[in-house]
């Protein structure tokens, strides 16, 4: 039985990864999960310099989901390399660094810096961030800007480059195509969907930041649809995520067109979920006499 898949030139021993921002720097969950078992570890989004993030409350629960407004708090690339990467180096699992910037230049510089480091095996660029030079409009919602920033990062790195798409767009297939055209090796989707919740007693937003990103089972139907739309538009692999809670969900994403998948919010509910998903995919393959997990990719019947 073969579970391995490829994301560009990056070979994963199985298609199950962690979603950025939900698995810390790997260490936090290492007492529950043997990191060697994972397809890849994707770490919390990094920027050139540390970020403080938003004031609390940063998370609230919603029906079958949650809103978060962490505000991209992170320790910065240098501290990550010095304090967190050595731990991850112990494992023979690819480390994918998720990163972002406020400007195209910051994106390139961050990509360059991360590419110099041994034992970072891939980059995932988060384009759901506001562009300082364009009135703080999100990089990932304007095809022209997306093309520009992805092209710039492409020039800055030789590592496999994954572009993490924002779902807050009219046409996700177009955005995936733009990323492909700009040189991405893969796209990952979906990032959180912007939402808001108001406390009617205080009349204030329940998140200090007003709005936050919706994740969890609640967004799965939207995420699956987007993966399906993108799959028909691009040739590069898709990493599917959004509400994956169990193996069945992961398989659903693969049938829709995902080459690999990531569990995000599910880690909070079940810290061993990634391993459970790997086991579940194996059982499913056995029961259905599937010898190569790649047979599932895009195998939806219409």
């Amino acid at each position: 039985m073969n579970l391995s898949v490829n994301i560009g030139k990056l070979k994963l021993k199985n298609p199950v990864m962690t979603a950025s921002g939900t698995f810390g720097y790997g260490e936090e969950y290492s007492e529950f999960v043997d990191l060697n078992r994972l397809g890849a570890v994707v770490v919390k989004g990094l920027s050139l310099t540390p970020r403080e993030g938003n004031p609390p409350p940063r998370i609230i629960e919603t029906p079958a989901g949650m809103l978060n407004a962490i505000g991209l708090q992170n320790i910065g690339i240098e501290v990550f390399i010095k304090d967190k990467l050595p731990f991850l180096r112990q494992f023979h699992t690819p480390v994918i660094a998720n990163f972002f910037g406020d400007t195209v230049e910051e994106y390139s510089e961050a990509a360059k810096r991360l590419s110099d480091i041994e034992d970072i095996h891939g980059l995932e660029m988060n384009i759901s961030c506001p562009n300082k030079h364009a009135g703080w409009i999100i990089f990932g919602t304007d095809p022209k800007v997306t093309f520009e920033v992805v092209s710039a990062v492409r020039r800055a790195t030789h590592l496999p480059l994954i572009v993490k798409l924002s779902p807050n767009v009219t046409d996700i297939a177009l955005m995936a195509k733009v990323a492909e055209d700009a040189g991405a090796d893969a796209v990952s989707m979906i990032n959180t969907i912007t939402g808001m919740s108001i406390d009617i007693k205080t009349r204030r937003p329940r998140l200090a930041n007003m709005t936050g990103g919706l994740s969890g089972p609640t967004i799965k139907p939207i995420a699956v649809r987007m993966v399906y739309e993108a799959y028909r538009a691009v040739k590069i692999p898709i990493i599917g995520m959004g509400g994956i809670m169990k193996a069945e969900d992961a398989i659903e994403f693969m049938l829709a067109g995902a080459t690999a998948v990531a569990a995000g919010t599910a880690n909070f509910v079940n810290p061993t979920v990634t391993i459970d998903i790997i086991h579940g995919i194996e059982s499913f393959m056995k029961e259905n006499s599937i010898v190569d997990v790649k047979e599932l990719i895009g195998a939806l019947r219409c």
Binding site: G53, I70, P271
Partner: protein
Amino acid sequence: MSRYFRAEIKENRPVDKSYNILGLKPLKPSREPEPGQFYMIGIGGEYDPLLKRPFSVFRKNSDGFQILYRIKGRGTLLMRDMKEGVVIDVLGPLGNSYPLPDKGQIPLIVAGGIGIASVFSLAEKLSGESYMFYGARNRDELLMLNELKGLAEELFISTDDGSSGRKGTIADVLNDFLTHPSPVTQAKACGYSIYACGPKPMLEAVSRIAIDKGLNGYVSLEENMACGVGACLGCVVKTREGYKRVCKEGPVFPIEEIVW
């Protein structure tokens, strides 16, 4: 010994209209909790409610441990209906714990409302050496008074409405105690160490008193949580060194660290 385990509900009984004790027996060996630590408790339902809820360890017992919880929102409402024998998912013990007082220091334990759940086991551990200050909205919301009696050298009570103990806030009672210490405590004390858990305004008031009087001490904080293990950065509070995670660097913080 994994901190993620399944546990059987041994008891789930009301101690008051809106407070219950939940007794849990881990189904495999689990770590011993220290006073101040907490657990993330899984509540049934498939995906709604989705997240686990954080609760302090209230007491250890022969089965495992208990939590004392207030029925507050939809999660705890569902918890109230969980039956004995049901098996649930639990993560913990999590976070840090109350550092013990330096030698000779008199521990002053300050609890507001359900904050009692967190400091109860600290009082037990300090086996009668502490002075305890416990405030609640009214007489009915003062929980476990019988059990508390033997636990502290002295127990001071206040209620917002004066229905039991002194009328007013427990911070005021603490302030009076520190301003007019009894001869006994004065004789004994090589200083005090404060341990406070309760609503934010109370913790802020207690912190101000501690700083005023130059005492050291600790507050146990709450913040909405998703992961409980430091991964999501959801549960931060503002400290002098930037945001820190309640679930990892806390829930117990030195008073002087917190920016209110």
